[in-house]
């Protein structure tokens, strides 16, 4: 089981939670578990079977795109951060 940090823009999709637990030995399995319970997350995280290009996934502080992408290993107890780009400058 890993702890997934949910960014503010995705919180409505998980009932407002800031963190949710999810299971999976790889990022793919973990996102499958997450999106099976919160189906509206799927389009916001996954595109063409890969991590969507407008979202970064960090496992233990490392961007999975610089590792094995969606096949990156997730050890039990890892912290996973989902991070969509933000453009706001407070205008």
């Amino acid at each position: 089981m890993s702890v997934v940090r949910i960014p503010p823009t995705l919180r409505p999709d998980v009932g407002g939670a800031r963190h949710v637990e999810a299971d999976g030995a790889t990022v793919r399995d973990l996102l499958d578990d997450l999106t099976s319970r919160f189906p509206s997350l799927r389009d916001q995280l996954v595109e063409d079977g890969d991590v969507a290009p407008f979202v970064n996934v960090y496992v233990e502080g490392e961007d999975v795109r610089t590792r094995e992408g969606i096949d990156t290993e997730v050890r039990p107890g890892s912290t996973v951060i989902l991070l969509p780009a933000m453009a706001g400058g407070g205008q």
Binding site: T9, T66, A85
Partner: protein, 390 residues
């Protein structure tokens, strides 16, 4: 009781003295700390190249910070070699291994025709204004002079641009450019502290310029009352900027700033905010990832509501914009470890800072090994679906 003459003779007996010729050999071969213990007006009229300045009266309190390595040779000088003899004696007492006093002082050094630094220092008023910077060894007079020569361009005079511009101006950054097409609106004032109620309806760049000039007359504000576009970005960047502080409020401008900064080789201090959360990083071309390495493409609109749509805690841009100002000052001074290759995440609701590693993408279409984007594109279309730039 000893007289001055006796004390001086005693000091000179206890310490090592060198003449100007030997001192020059030491400077050229020995890499000593060169310490000038004269008064400010004497220093301003010329000093040894590379010297640090601590007036004799401040020696004990400041020298340890300025010269922390006690095993290094310290070549100390004054005008004629008397104050420096006492100073060298003090350095001995403070545990410095090799203090050496320049006999004959600066006068003798100059008479020999050896190199001196005549660059003008700070004005007396500036010395008072920036005194807290002058006390920091990493800044000091040389650093403050560097700040006064530096040029920072702010994209946006909004939530992030407000604190960033105020702190950069207060710090004495010599030239601040501000790009913003908006006018001050009532809904801005919950967080945009560079503006005020009496400026409602005024162009934001003009309002910011007035506030900054009132804060620090040393700062030259260049106001660009226009929206940054592919058409004007080269003209604006051609005005010569050392650092860009990106506080834009939309994706087309973020990607435009990125591409332009890579092609103009200017580091960008990136900040973005939403509700209670902020992100800060430094995107330095050639030295770390660019924005496209971090986010290859912009999100669909439902994933990226703006602050105008989703709201923002008023103080949040104060924290994130101040972090941007801090990074910009470090880049201008060339000190510390800027947030290159690191994305700092701040959550005001839990008061937590997190950091994730970000890396250059060799496949990046702009800064990668084989770039496929080499000129400005239609950024609004690239971000199609995101809202029009403000």
């Amino acid at each position: 009781m000893a007289t001055y003459r006796e004390l001086l003779a005693q000091a000179k007996e206890d310490i090592d003295e060198v003449d100007a010729v030997r001192a020059r050999e030491l400077v050229e071969s020995g890499d000593p700390v060169i310490l000038d213990v004269r008064e400010q007006d004497e220093w301003d009229e010329g000093h040894l190249v590379g010297a640090i300045h601590i007036p004799r009266g401040n020696l004990e309190s400041r020298v340890e910070a300025a010269a922390p390595d006690r095993s290094r040779t310290v070549l100390v000088y004054c005008a004629a070699g008397n104050r420096s003899a006492f100073a060298a004696k003090t350095l001995q007492e403070l545990g410095y291994d090799q203090p050496v006093s320049l006999a004959g002082g600066f006068t003798d050094w100059k008479r020999n025709g050896f190199p001196i630094d005549l660059s003008t220092g700070l004005e007396p008023q500036q010395r008072a204004r920036y005194s807290r910077h002058l006390l920091i060894p990493e800044v000091g007079e040389a650093g403050q002079l560097k700040l006064l020569q530096s040029k920072v361009l702010l994209i946006g005079a909004g939530g992030l641009g407000s604190p960033a511009s105020l702190y950069l101006a207060a710090a004495g950054v010599g030239r601040l450019g501000i790009v913003d097409a908006d006018v001050v609106d009532e809904s801005n004032l919950q967080r945009q502290i560079v503006h005020s109620t009496e400026r409602l309806g005024d162009p934001k760049v003009e309002s910011a310029k007035r506030t900054i000039e009132a804060l620090n007359p040393d700062v030259d504000v260049v106001a660009y009352q226009e929206r940054l576009t592919s058409e004007n970005v080269d003209r604006i960047l051609a005005d010569g900027w050392d650092v860009i502080v990106d506080g834009a409020d939309n994706f087309p401008t973020r990607y435009l700033v990125n591409d332009a900064s890579v092609w103009h080789d200017i580091p960008v201090v990136h900040g973005s905010i939403y509700r209670f959360e902020g992100q800060v990083t430094v995107l330095k071309p050639g030295d770390g990832p660019c924005y496209r390495c971090l986010f290859p493409s912009p999100p669909p609109p439902e994933l990226a509501p703006s602050c105008a749509e989703g709201g923002v805690l008023g103080v949040l841009p104060g924290i994130v914009g101040s972090l941007q100002a801090s990074e910009a000052l470090k880049l201008a001074l060339g000190i510390g470890d800027p947030l290159i290759g690191r994305l700092l995440l701040f959550d005001a609701l839990t008061t937590e800072f997190n950091e994730v590693a970000i890396r250059r993408d060799p496949q990046c279409p702009v800064c990668g090994e084989h770039p496929t984007i080499t000129e400005y594109i239609d950024y609004v279309e690239f971000c199609a679906g995101t809202r029009e730039p403000a």
